[in-house]
């Protein structure tokens, strides 16, 4: 132990030097690394609604150029906790989309967002994962059961429903999916 206190010295310290401000948290710094090394695919864009110094909330728009969801634009909100990368970002799909792994509230079933998250993963990994969801929707892990069943039982109608909902908007299984053309 070291001597930090003395009864003889006045304990009130002088005002701290000017540069003792609160810094970016380690989570923000790690996110800064992720963002500066982002490798966005063509058609994928990112915006920071709160400006360049507030990285913890941002939006990613994915515009698939192949697969069933080609021609659509899908917006995801990222909410990164200060405990990042210890904890995964919270990701929601803000675009209503007919997809077996995305429900009507925007919850996304992507393993690395929850049970398989590891601190070595990055924002890039999540964006890849999301892009992959549009190329290869997985009916075995459904969040939207209705969509999963249709994909499994009648792939052609599923494809038709997805395409119509993207280009013109459609009522499917009692819910309305507004158009979301890129």
């Amino acid at each position: 132990m070291i001597k930090l206190f003395s009864v003889k010295e006045k304990q009130q310290k002088e005002a701290a030097a000017a540069h003792g401000k609160l810094k970016q948290s380690p989570g923000e710094l790690r996110l800064q690394k992720d963002i500066s090394e982002l490798n966005l695919a063509k058609g994928t864009t990112i915006i920071f609604p709160q400006g360049k110094d507030k990285l913890l909330n941002f939006e990613i728009t994915i515009r698939p150029d192949e697969g069933l969801y080609k021609g659509g634009a899908f917006v995801f909100s990222f909410n990164v906790p200060t405990s990042y990368p210890h904890d995964a970002p919270k990701v929601k799909c803000k675009t209503r989309v007919y997809h077996p792994n995305i429900d009507l509230e925007g919850n996304v079933c992507l393993n690395i967002l929850r049970e398989d998250w590891k601190p070595v993963l990055s924002t890039n990994s999540i964006i890849y994962g999301l892009q992959f969801l549009f190329l290869d929707p997985n009916p075995d892990d459904p969040l939207n059961k209705d969509a999963a069943q249709m994909l499994q039982n009648d792939a052609r109608s599923f494809e038709h429903s997805v395409r119509t909902s993207i280009s013109r908007g459609a009522h499917i299984g009692g819910s309305y999916f507004p158009p979301c053309k890129a």
């Binding site: 009864v7 966005l40 990285l55």
Partner: protein, 428 residues
């Protein structure tokens, strides 16, 4: 308690007499009691299970000026161990009631409550205290306090910590029958971020398992909490402190469990899963808080050598403790000194980056595309924010940072993690 003569007799024996196990630099004197009572200001963060114990122990150990901060209100389920609270206090601020009760019982002590989040107080508030004790239950809150305590730390030109800037922190934690106490002297012993590996991430259930193949009562509860609530309650924010919300989740989880033939959904389990509660045991809190308070006393007076620097306690078979001397991470982003770099205050950010890249001592040859931040602002970033930060490259470094001794944080694909650079202004 009319006659208080002799009140501090025992403590005084410890503090006014020389001894063999005292810490180096200990000065035995009668004035210690006066010092503890009137000079030292202690902050207790948290007024829950550990907080109640800490406040009681601190007051009875001679600390006369204590502040306590907690945003929580008292719940019936707290009463078995948070002994400063009574049935009639349910719903009131923990910090306020705890402060009142300690002052009623211990004459001459001033306990000042703060009924708010730790984030609501600014850095100046925390600066007032000589010592901070943590009785928290989340890593997030600990890391926040850690950042605050370490933000006061300054280093001299040789990279040695300036002792007058050290804000000591003592952290207690319990989980069922286990617990820990640790002493954090920023710059000297490891801070939370130096030893982050001590906290394993919690496992999260996959959303699709929750939705399609629930197998445990916890799966049913998490489903209702995470998926069914937002679906059926529209925009209403779930509040884990609202009883009607908790009841709703419990009832719905019960229905879902019946549907899937799963046993074991109870209200208690529902609260446990939703709030991520680990069972709290009164005696574990007492043991850990006692250890923390003793460290506080030793740290201030040096009447004994003190803990170096992490004590773990296991109460599962008898009592087992082990004290480990963890090492600081010299690269730590929160408490590290940073690599010194001399620059002219009139150099542009671009020139600073060039100097950085050319300097082998700073690992310059590993740097490819460095992104730079200082304080809470991003000065220059590659990637999607390159364009909006580019104008800074032409500005002088002294206009972008807080002055001599400022820390630059450097991120680069060639570095595993961010690097801290301590700027030393030199006229060229």
């Amino acid at each position: 308690m009319e006659d208080l003569d002799g009140r501090w007799r025992d403590l005084n024996r410890l503090l006014a007499r020389p001894g063999n196990i005292v810490g180096p630099g200990f000065e035995p004197q009668d004035e210690w009691i006066e010092f503890l009572q009137h000079q030292v200001r202690v902050l207790c963060v948290g007024a829950g299970g550990l907080g109640c114990e800490l406040l009681k122990d601190l007051a009875l150990s001679g600390f006369g000026n204590i502040d306590v901060i907690d945003l929580d209100t008292i719940d019936v389920s707290n009463l078995n161990r948070q002994f400063l609270f009574r049935m009639k206090d349910v719903g009131k601020s923990k910090a306020k009631v705890a402060a009142e009760r300690v002052m009623e019982r211990v004459q001459g002590v001033t306990v000042t409550p703060h009924f708010c989040r730790i984030e609501e107080k600014d850095r100046d508030f925390y600066e007032e205290f000589h010592l901070i004790l943590l009785g928290l239950d989340s890593l997030e809150a600990r890391r926040y306090m850690n950042q605050i305590a370490c933000s006061f730390l300054e280093f001299d030109e040789d990279g040695k910590p300036d002792l007058s800037t050290i804000k000591p922190m003592i952290d207690g934690g319990t989980e069922g029958l286990k617990g820990h106490a640790r002493v954090i002297l920023p710059g000297i012993t490891p801070c939370f971020d130096c030893t982050l590996w001590l906290f394993p991430p919690q496992t999260k259930f996959p959303l699709c398992t929750l939705a399609e193949t629930p197998r445990s009562p916890a799966h049913c509860i998490e489903y209702v909490h995470l998926i069914q609530w937002p679906q059926e309650k529209g925009g209403e924010e779930f509040d884990s402190d609202d009883d009607t919300h908790m009841q709703w989740v419990y009832q719905q989880a019960l229905k879902r469990a019946q549907q899937y033939g799963i046993q074991g959904v109870t209200l208690q389990l529902t609260q446990g899963v939703v709030k991520n509660i680990i069972p709290a045991i009164a005696s574990t809190n007492a043991v850990v808080a006692a250890a923390c308070t003793l460290e506080a006393l030793k740290l201030v007076t040096l009447c004994s050598t003190g803990m170096n620097n992490y004590m773990m306690y296991v109460g599962t078979d008898g009592i087992y403790t082990h004290t480990a001397q963890y090492e600081r991470d010299t690269q730590c982003l929160v408490c590290g000194a940073g690599v010194p770099m001399q620059v002219s205050p009139t150099a542009t950010l671009q020139e600073v980056i060039d100097t950085l890249k050319e300097s082998p001592a700073l690992g310059g040859r590993h740097l490819r595309r460095p992104s730079i931040s200082s304080g809470s602002s991003n000065l220059y970033m590659h990637g999607p924010l390159e364009e909006s930060t580019r104008p800074n490259l032409r500005k002088t470094i002294s206009s972008l940072v807080d002055g001599d001794g400022s820390i630059l944080q450097v991120n680069d694909p060639g570095l595993a993690g961010p690097m801290r650079v301590s700027l030393q202004f030199r006229q060229s």
